[in-house]
Amino acid sequence: MSILDASIRELHTKIRRKEIKPSELAEAAIRRIEETDEQIKAYLTVTAEQAIEHAKKLDKLPEGELPLLYGIPGAIKDNMCTEGVKTTCASRILANYIPPYTATAVKKLEEQEYVLVGKTNMDEFAMGSSNENSAFFPTKNPWDPDRVPGGSSGGSAATVAAGQVPFSLGSDTGGSIRQPASYCGVVGMKPTYGLVSRFGLVAFASSLDQIGPFARNVEDTAIVLQAIAGYDKLDSTSANVEIPDYLSALTGDIKGLRIAMPKEYFAEGLDPEVAERVKEAIKLLESQGATVEEVTLPHTKYAIACYYLIAPAEASSNLARYDGVRYGVRAEDAENLIDMYKKTRAQGFGPEVKRRIMLGTYALSSGYYDAYYLRAQKVRTLIKQDFDKVFEKFDVVVSPTAPTVAFKAGEKVNDPMTMYLNDIFTIPVNLAGLPGISVPCGLAQGMPVGLQIIGKAFDESTVLKVAHAYEQQANLNLRPALVGGVRA
C-alpha cells in the first residue's frame, strides 16, 4: 500500500507527528506519476523539480498549528493560471502560455502550503464530456484504459483515481467535475456559483463556470473546499457570504432530512444497472432516517438545449480574446490583421471549440438572438424555479450523476449531440447555480457509478453531510485494479 493511499487527514497527522516529511510525500507522488502516467496520461505538465524543491523547504515545520493541506501534493486543471507554470487549457492556441499571475483558488491552496505536482489534462477550454478533445492527447480511465475518464476535468479525476495525488482541482460548467468523478470512482464537488473565486480561471461560460475539488473521500473534499471557498474582490461575481465550517457538518447523522428524488432523472435513457446502484444508495440514506419522496422537475428535458445555447454564446464572447496579439500562438504568413486573426484562430482551436464558437456566434447574431439566446435564458429561469420549488420542502435532491458508466473512447466523438445528452443530470445544476457532489455508489459493468447530491445555494454543508453519511454507511472504498483495487 502506497503512502498516497492515505487520506489528507491521515497524511496531515503523519506530517505533524514528523512520521513523514513533505519532501518524501512529494517524491512518492512524482514517482507514482512516473510509474503510471504513461498509461493514464493525466498530466500535461509535471512540475517534479519545483515540487520537490518546495516540499524540501516545508520539511522544517513551522511553530504552531499546521494548515490541513500543509505539504500535501495536489494537481490543478490546466485552465487555472499558475504563475510561472505553463497553462495551456489543452489548446494549441495557448501551447506556450506562461501566466504572470496565479488564480485565487490556487493561491488559497498555496497559502496552506500545498505542493503543486502538475497541471492536468482536460478537454480544450473545458469543452467536452470525455477528455478526448484535448489538443495534445486523451486521458485514459484508470479503471479501464479503453474508456474515457469523462470530461472536461478528466485529468484531475483520473490522477486522484490512479492514486497519484490525494486531491486536485477541476472546473465545472455543465458537469465537468461531477461526471468525471462518477466515471473514475472518486468524489467531485461543484460548489454554488460564486462560492469559489473564478479569478485566474480561463473563462469558458462565465455565468456557469465554477472551480471545485476532487478527492478520494468526502472529508478530503470538504477540506479542500474549505481552503478555496470565500469572497474575492478580484472576481466581481464572487459572493460575499460567510463560509461555514464544512468539516463540522460531517456528523453522519441525517435523521429527519428530507430527500427529493426527481422522476425525470430516473426515466428513459438511464442504464438499468446504474439506476439500480443509485436506488440502492438512496435506500441506504432512507435506512439512516432520512425521508425520501418522488418529486418533479418538469423543465429538465429542456436543460440541454438551454445549456447548448447559453454556454456557447458566452464561450464565443470569452474566446474572442484569442487573436494572436497579446499571448498565445500567432499564425505566420498572414496578409493583414484580419487574416492574422482568422488564421490564428483556425490553426489554434480544435473542432469542438470551433463548433461552439460557431454555435454561440450564430445564437447571438442579429435576427437569432431572440429566438435562441434570449429564449434559452428564459428557460433557464424555469429550470431554476423548478429547483426553488422543490427546495421549499426538501433539503437535498438526489440522482444519478450520469446516465451510464464511462463510455468507450471514440464512441461518441463524431456525434456531438449524443455526447451532449450525456450531461442531462448535471447541466440543470449549473443553470440554477446550485452546489452538487458526485460520490461513488458501486459498480455497473465493472465501472464506477456516481450518486449526485444537489443542495440549496450556499448549503454545501448539507450536501457534504449527506454524501459523508452515505459514504460511511456504504463503506465501498472502490479502487481500480491499477492501484491494487477491484479488477475492472
Binding site: I98, T237, E335, R345, A346, I357, R380, T381
Partner: protein, 96 residues
C-alpha cells in the same frame, strides 16, 4: 429553421475563424442537428418569463479611483508573439 453553408460562412466571418470547405460542410450538418434539438424550446410559452443571465443578484462593483499595481509592462508583454519598444506588434491595419 435550417442553417446553410452560406450562413456558416457568414458566422465564421463574424467569429474571425477561417474554415476549410470540409469544416464548412461538417459544421453545417452538426449545427443543424444541434439547432434542431434547440427547437424544443420553441414549444414553451415564455410570454411572462423573465430571462436569467446570472443566478445571483447582481450589483455593480465599484472601486475607488486609485492607481494600483497590477502587471508590469514587461509581464504584460512576456507572452506576446511579437513585440516592439514595449508594445504589441501586429500587421499593418491600414495599407499605405
Amino acid at each position: 429553421m435550417s442553417i446553410t453553408t452560406k450562413d456558416v460562412a457568414h458566422v465564421a466571418n463574424l467569429a474571425r475563424l477561417a474554415l476549410s470547405d470540409n469544416e464548412m460542410e461538417q459544421f453545417t450538418e452538426q449545427l443543424n442537428k444541434i439547432l434542431q434539438h434547440a427547437e424544443e424550446l420553441q414549444k414553451l410559452d415564455l410570454q411572462d418569463v423573465e430571462p436569467t443571465s446570472h443566478v445571483l443578484p447582481m450589483e455593480n462593483v465599484m472601486r475607488e479611483d486609485e492607481s494600483r499595481v497590477w502587471l508590469t509592462n514587461e509581464q504584460a508583454l512576456a507572452n506576446a508573439p511579437d513585440k516592439d519598444a514595449g508594445q504589441f506588434r501586429v500587421p499593418a491595419v491600414m495599407e499605405g
